[in-house]
Symmetry: C2
Subunit: 332 residues, 2 copies
DNA sequence: CCGATCCATCCAAAAAAGGTATCGACCTAT
DNA sequence: ATAGGTCGATACCTTTTTTGGATGGATCGG
């Protein structure tokens, strides 16, 4: 094109002047041609295998050799042999073709949601029961995906969802309207956390007012806002004024305090998975009940193909857990 | 050809039915297109970078996506974004392009003799001095090549040279005429191997007839034919009839025998590299001298590009060693 | 609502790839 | 020795693909 016409047919017998603009590269189809010839060591048979005729095959091999500036095949009139460079390149050619194949397959898998990676944010308390169950289910149904988990409070999750750093948030209400999809995955009752020897631990089901008259370990109003606000509303509706002796954000810290006899607390049922020795959990009798809710949240315009798949898994899991949970509660 | 004529012009105008026979594969040029677009996130700029115009670029990306059956790029009218599958495929595409590049480079290196692999056969005795020197020189000048060394007797080397299992033979004469190239790389004098306390070990230069009157350790006539025949001729020309007390093939076995006082022997000078304790080596005074020769031999039609390069190294080494050797001898 | 931006589409022209026929070298068999 | 067969390269023509300019259509900012 930018070369003079005569350069099109340079006396091909002198490879001396073959400058080869270097931005030229072979194509995978040429590798396929080469592999076929190298395996058959016969242009005719190779052409047959490639569903083409021999002359264009010869030409493709010549082009490949010219681009590489390497003789790959030694053609005597009676036999075709690989040169050492050809032998070396054959291995690489096979490798490249295989990689190309698997790159295509992987792209397809990612697009169909069978493979890929996803970032999930979760609140500290959800880690006690729902998150492990969800991750286990995903690992089972989508063994090839990469799940990256990050613990953060609900408000941070919303920020990261917005910025795209997180694909899925497992967080506490409230959930802002704009551009987010969400559904509830757990709704656990709050249970009383009591020191083993505490009088209330004898009762099957202490009443909320009993707890309110004990030294009470409360949630931190900012880092654990959801539980803080939930308890405030609970006590307020019951017209109770508990005696807050300590504010903490983490459930395991609260249970440690209960263990040490600092006071009693209300924790979500999933805390039972912590199995804190010397601390007993008891369902609480209360007038107005509200479960601790956890939501599965995503950005509506997130196009990660794993999202709908994992959302489906999460929904199924929630349904199962829900039925078990209600069963549990009916037993109590 | 075997298809009906009409099948040649399938209704190409309906992409609706483009079933894509799946044996179609993308090409590296399309990967380059995709990488450019994915990096620029802008078809126009990417086209500029690829030295083409935007429409064909768009088309190539579409073809790539159709072949993969995966949407790689999300084109809103205002911005281009990668889909998750596209992000995944981008990494693979870059990897493939890099591999293709280095495969080409490696093929060129192999063709030019800067890389590659070569099989070298050598006789047991050559391992004491010339082979290590040659291998060291090759490792220094051709750090990227793979040298495979196999010890075998000269006749076996010739067989393997013929079959192509060995590219280079380091062997003893005679060398058959047919289709082989060869040059001499070492010519070492034979020296006397004597027990440390032996009377002849006191002399600076024992005479051949002195050795012939001692119990003499001889080379095995088949496995060490070259040295056997050499010594036979040596003694025959000097009209000596030595007293052969033992026949052995390996030099180190012979020296061990000398060490044990079984007798004396004649060994090539390079045996001094063995440093056998209690055995002294002495130059021998003889009428008619003939050095033990080692040849570098290859098949004339061997097209391994390393062959001429290593042959050059071997020749240089021989020249150097030759001069040092003569120096050594002049000192003695 | 208009102009700018940007990707997709259309179409004619150019390039590339494919196919048929044939060449030329070489090996084999008569 | 020579005729016939084999096999890769070449010549030449046809088909397919790619290219690039022009244009379309959607969207965003002013």
């Amino acid at each position: 094109m930018r070369e003079p016409i005569e350069a099109r047919h340079p006396a091909r017998r002198q490879p001396l002047f073959q400058v080869e603009d270097t931005d030229f590269m072979f194509e995978l189809s040429q590798l396929r041609c080469f592999v076929a010839v190298a395996e058959e060591l016969h242009f005719g048979r190779a052409a047959l295998r490639l569903n083409m005729t021999q002359p264009p095959l010869s030409r493709q091999i010549q082009i490949l050799e010219r681009v590489l500036d390497v003789t790959l095949l030694e053609r005597s009139n009676r036999a075709v042999r690989l040169t050492p460079a050809g032998r070396r390149f054959l291995a690489d050619a096979r490798h490249l073709l295989k990689l190309a194949e698997s790159a295509a397959a992987l792209a397809r898998r990612v697009a169909s949601g069978k493979a890929g990676s996803i970032n999930i944010g979760f609140t500290a308390t959800s880690a006690y029961s729902y998150v492990p169950a969800l991750v286990a289910a995903c690992r089972r149904e989508l063994p090839d995906i990469e799940i990256s988990l990050k613990e953060m409070v609900s408000s941070d999750q919303l920020k990261r969802l917005d910025s795209g750093e997180v694909d899925i948030g497992l967080l506490r209400p409230p959930i802002p309207r704009g551009g987010l999809g969400a559904f509830r995955v757990t709704a656990e009752p709050l249970v009383a956390a009591l020191p083993g020897g505490h009088p209330l631990a004898q009762a099957d089901q202490p009443r909320l007012e009993d707890l309110a008259s004990e030294p009470f370990i409360m949630y931190e109003p900012y880092e654990a806002r959801y539980f803080h606000d939930l308890l405030v509303e609970l006590f307020s509706r019951a017209s109770l004024v508990p005696n807050y002796v300590q504010h903490l954000a983490q459930i395991h810290s609260i249970l440690a305090m209960v263990h040490s006899g600092v006071g009693v607390a209300l924790v979500p049922e999933a805390a039972s998975n912590l199995r804190f020795s010397g601390v007993v959990l008891r369902p609480v009798l209360m007038q107005w009940e509200r479960p601790a809710e956890l939501f599965f949240v995503w950005r509506s315009d997130n196009d990660n193909p794993l999202l709908p798949v994992i959302a489906g898994i999460a929904r199924d899991l929630a349904a199962q857990a829900g039925s078990i949970q209600s069963m549990d509660r009916s037993i109590q």
